[in-house]
Symmetry: C2
Subunit: 385 residues, 2 copies
Amino acid sequence: MRHVAVIGIGQTPVDEHWEFSLREIAGKAVMAAIQDAGIGHADGLFVGNMMSGLISKQENLGVHLADWIGLTGADTMKIESACGSGASAFRAAVLAVSSGFMDCAIAVGVEKMTENVMVETTSALATAADADYEADMGLSFVAINALVMQRYLHVYKWKHTDFANFSINAHANAVNNPNARLREPITLADYQKARMVAEPINLLDASPIGDGAAAAVLVPLSSVKFSRRPLVVVAGSATATDTIAVHSRSDPLWLTAAEKSAKSAYQQAGVSPEDIDLFELHDAFSIMSALSLEACGFAERGKGPQLALDGDIFPTGRIPITTLGGLKARGHPVGATGMYQIIEVVQQLRGEAGAAQLEKAEIGMAQNIGGSGATITTHILKKVK
Amino acid sequence: MRHVAVIGIGQTPVDEHWEFSLREIAGKAVMAAIQDAGIGHADGLFVGNMMSGLISKQENLGVHLADWIGLTGADTMKIESACGSGASAFRAAVLAVSSGFMDCAIAVGVEKMTENVMVETTSALATAADADYEADMGLSFVAINALVMQRYLHVYKWKHTDFANFSINAHANAVNNPNARLREPITLADYQKARMVAEPINLLDASPIGDGAAAAVLVPLSSVKFSRRPLVVVAGSATATDTIAVHSRSDPLWLTAAEKSAKSAYQQAGVSPEDIDLFELHDAFSIMSALSLEACGFAERGKGPQLALDGDIFPTGRIPITTLGGLKARGHPVGATGMYQIIEVVQQLRGEAGAAQLEKAEIGMAQNIGGSGATITTHILKKVK
């Protein structure tokens, strides 16, 4: 098994890119990553995407993008794990380089959601859940998460407002990220009076959709002879799953797949939660931030919101999260999100996060979730000293 | 890079499975493969599928299936390369086992196409082509292939009827395959009078869609201590791509991606076309059989149909193809097809192909195409002596 280094990253802002097609958006991110890496060729392209078939009437996305960006001939595939597609594509690229089948692979996550003709985005998002037993019963994706949050408030006796800092922190961090969709700070008062979406989830608990793409270039660590900037390696890569439907779980308030994939990634990297300097978690809804922190060992069961209340999740806190805005404020172009998380960790480890730069960033973790805790991929990246 | 063995295979018949859901169809194939392999656990599940989002309103297919078949917790992802999704999923499993990340992976291809509520299948199939420059211009997928065949007849001076043996052979072979959808032999007269679909492609040039799933269990060769039956190893695995739109190619009558991926697979396996005992090629349309044989080195440019006319493609011929019916008669449940091809090669190498068994089957090749020659994956499997 070869060690894998990330030598280039690229992204588009998350926004409503009505003026660009799916391939143009992805192409911008990939070309930026290629330029950042300084490579002239890649063997393979792994595309993370959830809903191009539904929204853009386009499948066969691997070749669709390889052709467009001038990588015609490259080995490609599209990877889909709902909102976890981005990290799955990155992981597929890690496997390809690690195995020796490829000496240079590009992973890109892309989604174009805001302008569509065939289906409603809400309906497309519901394909992440169980079509037969959740979506067909009338549950939208936000409604499923609302049931989980409602139950969490009931069981662990938190108030809705105790979650405010998850959103306040994300928005504050996004102000410093030129690629974020929502660069406005919010206050506790804003959070408390936000419009209800699906009780108890209000508009400021929920991440906005968006169009965007993020990409990374992966090579074997052994092939890197010199690097102009701090070199980042993949120290851990793991995916685990739970039941697809939330009602099938013995404890709907515990992310078993997050725990399992994080444990595997910690083991591969030889680290424990205390060693993690930043955690780009999957804050599609504020409740997911609490559950992720608990499952990954940063808080005890039922105590996740305490980290928000205490400011432990702030850039200066014990475990900074969503340091460039997270899903909540950078935006959540679903199939691209996992790749945004990866490259944001790389930005932090390299010291290239601009005004959002953390003081200490040696080891970072990114965790991407497909469905309501169903498919969870955890990556740990390390700066090579 | 570890060598990979295929220790279990399973499939459902290709048919109209209106009585079963997507997960039930896939589950049958996976459970059969697990039973065939005699394993009690697997680390990962790679799902090849093209249109579950469009047809069944279900994405997140990796966890959807892992959950159903009792592999809850397993590392999963869905892989999509249009009609080439099956082979891409198999290849992803090869990478995972080869890299050392997994010690046992299952690849399954599944498609449920015949009963749908959201979209027409013809419209879903068109997502394999370029949405902006082919499909949106009104070209269906069969129409694109019809343009290619028309051009081929014009340039290389073949008559339509010269392609008859591709279909006659496929149907004759399917008679011996209990899992095939069309188990009726056809005659030259049938072929000549078949109803036109898109000139010059008639109904007997075109493969039927269907519902079905096929699965395989992969482990490192080094982990196999004994085997009750002939052991099959993956000797070559490669994907290559062309432009997604046929009109962008300098020669629309040459499958560059087939040539490139086959050459890579030959090199990995240390073989040449003369060593291949059977070739499960992607006969979605009869013209694709001719083009595939040429690109992979079995016929000179423009001479593919001669192999059909001479009977070289028959079970007793120089290079038997579609030995269990091929896409034409076994059926073409698009995202599953590549996995059917793989397990049919395994059946032949093991000597388990029943009445369709070839006399000599030591090295077999399977080639799966996504789009009109856009994404092409070639696998070479070998029987361990």
